[in-house]
């Protein structure tokens, strides 16, 4: 993942919501790992669906894109896709830089 993909611009009026948003994303990553380990595909589908909806709404397009991969992977039972998507999510959350304007 290049660094450019990890730069996100968020509307200024959402700035105070972002710390909670990021905290919830990290909690989400933990829940994805737990669901993957338990092979709980329904839980994975729901988590992916939620990421897809909330990501772009806040300006985090990558979160939505990864959410879609996870939802698709959960639907088709594609464990490799799920593992890869969750790993990319982990990497993204570690690198993401948020600017406000």
């Amino acid at each position: 993942m290049n660094d450019g993909a990890c730069k996100v611009t968020v509307a200024k009026d959402l700035e105070d919501l972002i710390p909670t948003f990021m905290k919830n994303r990290r909690k989400e990553l933990d829940n994805l790992r737990i669901a993957l380990a338990a092979r709980d595909f329904e839980q994975l589908r729901q988590l992916g669906h939620r990421m897809k909806g909330v990501g772009v709404s806040y300006g985090f397009e990558r979160v939505s894109a990864l959410g879609k991969s996870i939802e698709d992977g959960a639907r088709s039972g594609d464990r490799a896709l799920l593992e890869s998507s969750i790993a990319q999510y982990d990497e993204y959350l570690a690198k993401v830089q948020v600017a406000f304007e």
Binding site: A11, T20, N24, H49, V54
Partner: protein, 374 residues
């Protein structure tokens, strides 16, 4: 506050949006965008909390996510739209962009509009603003309709009050609102105190008076005696020529009906005295109010045809009061014995005399009559 003020106040309240979404980030995001547009947003996370919030204070609009824990958004939407108390609240259903099936289900559930996730700021604002405008227009029209209805009722009440007692007017309007037709009840037997008042000698007086003057004089007279009847909560059942029939204890029970009738009679004569003085000063023929009061059973009901109907009382008490009135001299009140027994305590100090048993025209047997000089 008056009904009219309540009706107009509706348009002045703040626009409140209830956001129903179990994702706290999504709920906070939607609430923030709505607040930025000057709306007041409350967030809840599930169906039960949504129902409770609507019951506590109905919002002006609901932004409702389809995927909720427990009952889903369709169920919430369906239930709110089937309840008359919440059916008019616009609901924006939030669904996934590609989910056409959800949109069809949403339409069936009664959703007013849809919003796709991920939510685009401009789309949310545009949809909410459009629905807000529609909702506010609808509210304004409703307030205007309510205001017109109140004014119409007020006009009706004022019109009725010229013909019946204020209390009866209220009952008629209530009957009209609830059943569409006043006096729907079947004819009923009632215990009544009937008062007949008449302007004695007035027929002779009219022979020497110009027609337009006669009308003015009658209006002066009726103004005084109807005021007296209403003051004591009597119900006027008929006005013919220069006579007036007033019922007490009907259609509303009055434990002191006989006393009320007597006081009304006293007020009629006392109130008419100054009017009579001006007529006499103008050289009019001698006249005055003669009154008869009798009590007993009567039938209360609608009498007439579908084209012309009178809500009135008929029966022996009414006939007896009419005959007593015909016998009464100007300024005299004639009472049947049962009425006299009920009011004798309040007649202390007044000139009362028994006229004994009197045969009344058109009536078999006699009636014991008491005369009160008013």
């Amino acid at each position: 506050m008056s009904d009219l003020a309540d009706a107009t106040r509706v348009t002045e309240t703040a626009f409140r949006v209830l956001v129903v979404d179990d994702d706290p980030d999504m709920a906070a995001f939607l609430a923030r965008l709505l607040s930025r547009e000057g709306m007041s947003a409350e967030t809840v996370a599930d169906a039960d909390a949504a129902f409770a919030a609507v019951a506590a204070a109905a919002p002006d609009m609901i932004v409702l996510d389809v995927m909720l824990p427990g009952a889903d958004g369709f169920t919430v939407c369906e239930r709110l739209k089937s309840d008359p108390a919440s059916a008019m609240i616009p609901i924006v259903l939030v669904t996934a962009l590609e989910d056409q099936e959800s949109r069809v289900r949403g339409i069936r559930a009664g959703a007013d509009d849809f919003l796709s996730k991920p939510v685009r700021r401009e789309e949310l604002i545009a949809r909410v603003k459009t629905l807000r405008r529609l909702h506010e227009t609808r509210r304004e029209l409703e307030a205007r309709r309510l205001s017109a209805e109140i004014q119409h009722k007020e006009t009706l009440r004022k019109a009725f009050e010229r013909y019946v007692s204020p209390r009866l007017a209220q009952t008629i309007i209530a009957d009209l609102a609830e059943e569409g037709t006043p006096f729907r009840r079947e004819a009923q037997r009632v215990s009544v105190v009937a008062l007949f008042a008449d302007l004695r000698g007035f027929t002779r007086l009219t022979e020497f008076t110009r027609v337009d003057e006669v009308v003015g004089m009658l209006n002066e007279y009726f103004h005084v005696i109807t005021d007296a009847a209403y003051r004591h909560e009597g119900t006027i059942f008929s006005m013919a020529g220069d006579s007036l029939l007033v019922g007490f204890n009907v259609p509303f029970a009055q434990a002191d009906a006989a006393e009320r009738a007597c006081r009304a009679a006293q007020d009629m004569v006392a109130g008419f005295a100054p009017v009579l003085a001006t007529w006499t000063a103008r050289g009019g023929a001698p006249t005055g109010v003669g009154i008869g009061i009798a009590s007993g059973e009567a039938i209360l009901g609608n009498i007439g045809s579908p084209h012309y109907m009178s809500h009135t009382i008929i029966g022996d008490a009414v006939n007896t009061a009419a005959r007593l009135m015909q016998m009464a001299q100007p300024g005299e009140l004639l009472l049947s014995r049962p009425v006299y027994d009920l009011v004798r305590g309040m007649l202390d100090g007044q000139r009362v005399r028994s006229k004994g048993e009197v045969a009344l025209r058109g009536r078999s047997g006699t009636v014991e009559v008491y005369s009160v000089a008013l």
